[in-house]
Symmetry: C2
Subunit: 151 residues, 2 copies
């Protein structure tokens, strides 16, 4: 992971051009999660539900998209003032997040670890193993939502 | 590119679970573009504006995110009924798009080609070359917007 959570608090000391507004940080992190969710859904349709025929290249591409987003330094999109206490319903980030950065970083590391595994299993082409790895990634998404995302 | 534009029209013949609603297709493609724009901006800040110090790992990660999104088969998010004529201001996709799939595919190929170049230049660590490659990618974003995105 590049930077981790807390990186944005350091970034805030840099020049203004470099610092995104809270609204922008929220928009971009929501975009990242949304695009990952689409790719999770594509893999699920092929290796869990079977509603779409398995296509190795598509599953590899989906896993790569999830991994590249997960490893793109999204931590810098969690700057001060971007939780519900200041941004209302523009965001679902709980204010507790900023009091628990160590926990958030731990969950993020679990997440990127599970995603790396999904990428290598996708490359193996073994659908049963991809299914297991997908389930493990899903647990790490959920762990973070349970703690830091409002209902 | 996996599938290209027109893939969604084929996909529509598959089972219902596999087919996303127009609203979902629009949300996911907007998310993909938005997340790419964030990553373009990070590279720009470091190698064009100099408003953030150059960090090779961050630029490589940003280029990888753009490339993985560009190569994730976004063409399947351009299903029938997802342009402004049917979806109003939920989308900025011009209806002309569906009458010009060959042109759209050509622009998409130019785009993924420029993105692949950006990825390899990012890995080289040569800022001048990264700057040039970034400009080329930007031209391919703009070419598509000029033709197929409303103002």
């Amino acid at each position: 992971m590049i930077g981790g959570f807390g990186a944005a608090l350091l970034l805030a000391t840099l020049s203004a051009e470099a610092q995104l507004k809270p609204e922008e940080q929220i928009e971009y992190r929501q975009a990242g999660y949304s695009f990952m969710a689409w790719n999770m859904g594509k893999i699920k349709a092929q290796v869990v539900d079977g509603s779409v025929p398995y296509n190795k290249a598509q599953v590899v591409a989906a896993a790569n998209a999830i991994a590249a987003i997960a490893n793109s330094g999204m931590g810098s999109l969690y700057g001060p003032g971007t939780a519900t206490d200041q941004m209302g319903d523009k965001t679902r980030l709980k204010p507790e997040f900023f009091k628990n950065l160590d926990e958030a970083n731990k969950l993020a590391r679990n997440f990127t670890g599970a995603v790396d595994k999904l990428t290598s299993e996708a490359a193996s082409g073994d659908q049963a193993r991809i299914k297991t790895a997908l389930g493990e990634v899903g647990k790490t998404c959920k762990a973070c939502h349970d703690q830091f995302r409002t209902k």
